[in-house]
Amino acid sequence: MSDEMGYQGEVVKRFMYVNRKAPYGTIYALENLETVLIAAAFDQDVSVVFVDDGVYQLKKGQDTKGIGMKNFSPTFRALDDYDVEKLYVEKESLEARGLTAEELVVPVEVVSTEELREIMAQQDVVLSC
């Protein structure tokens, strides 16, 4: 736990949101993003991780017309306005899907599984879906 004071004089905690699922097919990605924005509004120390099919959430050029769903990927670009600047993408997940960081809608930090393990161990609250 960090010593910084924030929302209502409470101690600021490190909240990590782990996105494991593709952006469409299930609602997890969309609803998880809503939670990230709320945690940021509470002035918590928020980071967001993309692993497994979760890396597809950030893919550029999403076209959802054919499935009748809202393309919510532009919302990731608004995270910066909420001071959510720590976005981690697991290197192995990206490579396994033939993707590179240049193909993502926002700048991210690409980290190995090993590095991610260390970052995760430093968190107070880890929410995964």
């Binding site: 909240f15 809503e34 939670t35 709320i38 509470f42 918590q44 107070d124 609250v125 879906c129």
Partner: protein
């Protein structure tokens, strides 16, 4: 220890809510505190009092309600997720209340551990 519990799945399709319920029950039995249970995603369906499983099966909605009454638990259903799924005040089983996602963040801040139950 002070626990926060997050339930991300509805009753029956997934085991998450059963596991969360058993975790809460066990933690309380050991003298720990359950500061809040937050229901998100399809987890909001755990609050629907119209659920009527077969008589030889467990009724998770009722089980959560009863545990809530016994231990004065704060059972919070996310408003955004609930509205999407047609869960409104008039459908809520006893002990549940509808509120915002801020209540989940607050649980993360206040609890020593936030334990997530999902798929």
């Amino acid at each position: 220890m002070k626990f926060g519990i997050l339930v991300n799945e509805g009753p029956f399709t997934h085991q998450a809510s059963d596991s969360a319920y058993r975790f809460a029950e066990a933690a309380l039995a050991k003298g720990h505190e359950v500061w809040r249970v937050f229901f998100y995603h399809d987890g909001v369906n755990n609050s629907n009092k119209l659920a009527e499983p077969q008589s030889d099966d467990r009724n998770l909605v009722k089980l959560w309600s009863e545990l809530g009454r016994e231990h004065d638990l704060d059972l919070v259903v996310c408003v955004a997720a609930a509205l999407r799924r047609g869960i409104k005040d008039e459908l809520l089983a006893a002990g549940f209340r509808i509120s915002g996602l801020g209540q989940l963040v607050e649980a993360g801040i206040q609890a020593d551990r936030l334990v997530v139950f999902g798929d």
